[in-house]
């Protein structure tokens, strides 16, 4: 075990897989000599050379388009999109090409690749360095969507994503890149895609959260405990495919459900979680399913603290499941 931040765990996973499999290549804007704007790819070019870790022209469409070609040819590309907010020029390549390749070719061609990108608010990034765009990708059949909330999960899930046979969106909550330090297993460490985790056990209400919201919900659970309510927190870790049994078992046990996400509320991934709970566990519910989310606005600069769910808002959400 080594104590690492989330960003160090990402770096560790990349190195581990690049040593293990020479088909793995890492590229994107500033990922080479500089090692990435967040230093996720630090040291890769020095260790693996310019053929396996290289800087690209400033073109997200070109980065993902060429990554698709590399994956088709047999490499395991890991393109980095510097901020998720800049992924839209590549959206077509992800949605129309990478995601549909296996299906549209009857399984003849596949697109195993991991698109890594820092996402989410909390670093004073304004409209264009803060957004949570996970729902767009969850809505696209053919993609897997993975979001770690701890350093150990970041490493284990990234390794599993790189070994996956299909395209994976690996979204890194940049707000907690360096705020969280944790013991991370050295060497081989795989966290399977599709398995969530119970962050904290409780019996009165279930809170579902992923990414940077997990820590916020832990604070909220402490506040709720002071009010005598025992809160269980479930982190699905992978939004697609989703570990439904873990979520449903928890909700059936507690009878209450709060869904927390920092993306805009309408059509956010939390809406899907709420729908699943309503469809499959309604007979266990003792109160409404409550969503605590961002606002249906562009991501603000100064008032970002009001925009993002914080512990008090999550606590109010929990309270609402009792008072209705």
């Amino acid at each position: 075990m080594t104590v690492m931040t989330l960003i160090q765990a990402v770096n560790d996973a990349l190195k581990h897989e690049m040593r293990r499999d020479d088909r793995v290549v890492v590229f994107g804007e500033d990922v080479g000599v500089k090692g990435g704007v967040f230093l996720a790819t630090e040291g890769l070019q020095a260790e693996f050379g310019k053929d396996r870790c290289f800087d690209t022209p400033l073109s997200e469409c070109g980065i993902i388009g060429t990554a698709v070609g590399m994956a088709l040819y047999g490499l395991r590309p890991i393109p980095e999109i510097q901020f998720l907010d800049f992924i839209y020029p590549a959206f077509d390549q992800i949605v129309s090409e990478a995601a549909k390749m296996r299906y549209r070719s009857g399984g003849e061609y596949t697109c195993p690749m991991v698109i890594r990108s820092p996402y989410g608010g909390g670093i004073k990034g304004g409209h264009y360095h803060s957004q949570s765009a996970e729902a767009y990708f969850c809505h696209t059949p053919g993609l897997k969507v993975v979001i770690p909330s701890t350093p150990a999960d970041a490493k284990g899930l990234l390794i599993a994503s790189i070994r996956d046979e299909d395209p994976v969106m690996f979204l890194e909550p940049k707000r907690i890149y360096r705020t969280l330090k944790q013991e991370v297993p050295e060497g081989e460490h795989v966290v399977p895609i599709g398995k969530g985790r119970i962050v904290r056990e409780g019996k009165d209400a279930t809170v579902i959260a992923y990414g940077a919201m997990v820590g916020i919900c832990e604070q909220a659970a402490e506040l709720a405990a002071k009010e005598g309510r025992s809160v269980e927190i479930v982190d699905p870790r992978t939004l697609v495919p989703l570990d439904e049994p873990l979520i449903l078992d928890s909700v059936r046990k507690t009878g209450r459900c709060v869904v927390v996400y920092e993306a805009p509320r309408t059509c956010g991934y939390g809406a899907e979680l709420a729908a699943i709970v309503a469809e499959k566990a309604i007979e266990y519910l003792e109160g409404p399913i409550v969503r605590v989310a961002g606002f249906d606005t562009p991501f603000p600069y100064t008032l970002d603290n009001l925009y993002m769910p914080d512990a008090r808002r999550v606590l109010r959400g929990i309270q609402k499941t009792f008072q209705w």
Partner: protein, 406 residues
């Protein structure tokens, strides 16, 4: 406002003095003729429309020349019949190739068996030349059980893994950067694979054209980017697509060598592609080729070109027919005669007929194929949806799940 000049002779001063070109209010009259063969617009030509040798003979052996001719005749008949089937309601949609046979076959024939091809809309001939059977092609068009893509894509979206002929989407231009990425991968792996990436003239306006050209040149990828300039993108003529003097010349801004070739001259296309392939294989990087040709029919079976273009233009291009051009050349060389022509026509007609009959009798793809191949494995969610699909089908058949069978 007059049309911005396309002459390269105008000085920089004149260029800066000129106001930016305003969008033209009226459609540009369709380009009816081949641009004059000089300067950047010069066309590489080997055979005249009459089939006479007017350029450098690439020196293909007689059997290879005959092979190219047979491939062209075959795809022409295939194309004709598929359009008829569409008109009869036996195929849902079809995008005709007529007039572009030489551009596809000449370029595809210049590739080795281990090379990769990323097609655009009208490159069925490349798939067939590289080994896609007529049955498989027709199964794709009909979306039948034996379709390699399992009836999942609309017609004309062929895939053929053994031939490294890659499945395409309908999204114009996206395959350009795939071709470049595959070529970058080949270079990284140390393989001597060369990649051929096709695109239409309309595709040269898409984002991926810029991205692909730029990446290809920056990484010196072993790729040949091949534009089938058939002068139309549905109803939009080339001059409405780009104000560039030629499409080919765009490559120079990316630092990429380029050539412009008579796309109805299969030998010229072959020679230009061959040179580009050799260059790429030597490690000297990408080449951009523009093949000037013409889309003689509508954009697709859904399109009526008389609504937007003068049929006189089509007549001009009928006189530059690529199949006749090669036939005349072969005849003059004593490699072809009426008897062989008749035999070939009969053989191909029979083969196409037999393939249609076989494929048309096939069932639709299995219902399970609706949910397989989204990922390598079925997710729990898809498993649940598959069970639901089967239950719906059972209910529709009047069966009841778990019902006592007697």
């Amino acid at each position: 406002m007059t049309r911005p000049t396309r002459s390269a002779k105008k000085g920089a001063a004149a260029r800066t003095a000129r106001k930016p070109a305003a969008p033209r209010a009226r459609p540009v009259p369709p380009a009816a003729s081949v641009p004059p063969p000089h300067g950047a617009a010069a066309l590489l030509t080997v055979l005249s429309p009459e089939g006479e040798l007017v350029g450098k003979d690439p020196g293909l052996p007689p059997e290879r020349l005959v092979f190219l001719y047979e491939q062209m005749v075959q795809v022409r008949e295939f194309d004709r019949r598929m359009l008829v089937l569409q008109r009869q309601g036996r195929i849902g949609f079809y995008g005709p190739i007529l007039g572009q046979e030489a551009a596809t076959i000449g370029s595809a024939a210049a590739m080795g068996p281990g090379d990769w091809v990323f097609p655009a809309l009208r490159e069925a001939a490349a798939a067939i030349l590289r080994g896609l059977s007529l049955d498989a092609a027709i199964a794709q068009l009909m979306g039948k059980a034996s379709d390699r893509c399992k009836g999942r894509q609309m017609p004309c979206h062929y895939t053929h893994k053994e031939a490294h002929y890659v499945s395409m989407s309908s999204v114009i231009g996206t395959q350009i950067s795939h071709a470049v990425g595959a070529a970058m991968a080949a270079r990284i792996r140390g393989d001597d694979t060369v990649v051929l990436g096709y695109m239409g003239d309309g595709a040269t306006s898409a984002n991926d054209f810029h991205a692909g050209m730029n990446f290809a040149a920056v990484y010196r990828a072993p790729v040949v980017l091949f534009c089938q300039n058939n002068q139309w993108a549905i109803s939009v003529p080339l001059r409405q697509q780009s104000a560039s003097e030629t499409i080919a010349i765009k490559a120079s801004a990316y630092g990429m060598p380029y050539a412009r070739v008579d796309g109805n001259d299969v030998l010229a296309v072959y020679a230009a592609t061959r040179a580009a392939v050799e260059r790429a294989r030597r490690g000297d990087g990408p080449t951009f080729l523009e093949a000037l040709t013409y889309r003689r029919l509508g954009h697709s079976s859904s399109d009526d070109p008389t609504r937007y273009r003068d049929e006189a233009e089509v007549r001009v291009w009928e006189k530059r027919d690529p199949v006749e051009r090669l036939r005349r050349f072969l005849r003059a060389r004593g490699l072809w005669n009426d008897r062989r022509e008749q035999e070939l026509q009969e053989r191909i007609a029979n083969e196409v007929n037999a393939a249609i009959a076989r494929v048309e009798a096939e069932p639709d793809p299995d219902p399970d194929t609706l949910v397989t191949d989204v990922h390598a494995e079925l997710t729990p969610q898809l498993r649940e949806q598959l069970a639901d699909l089967r239950a719906n089908l059972d209910a529709a058949r009047g069966g009841r799940e778990g019902a006592f069978p007697l």
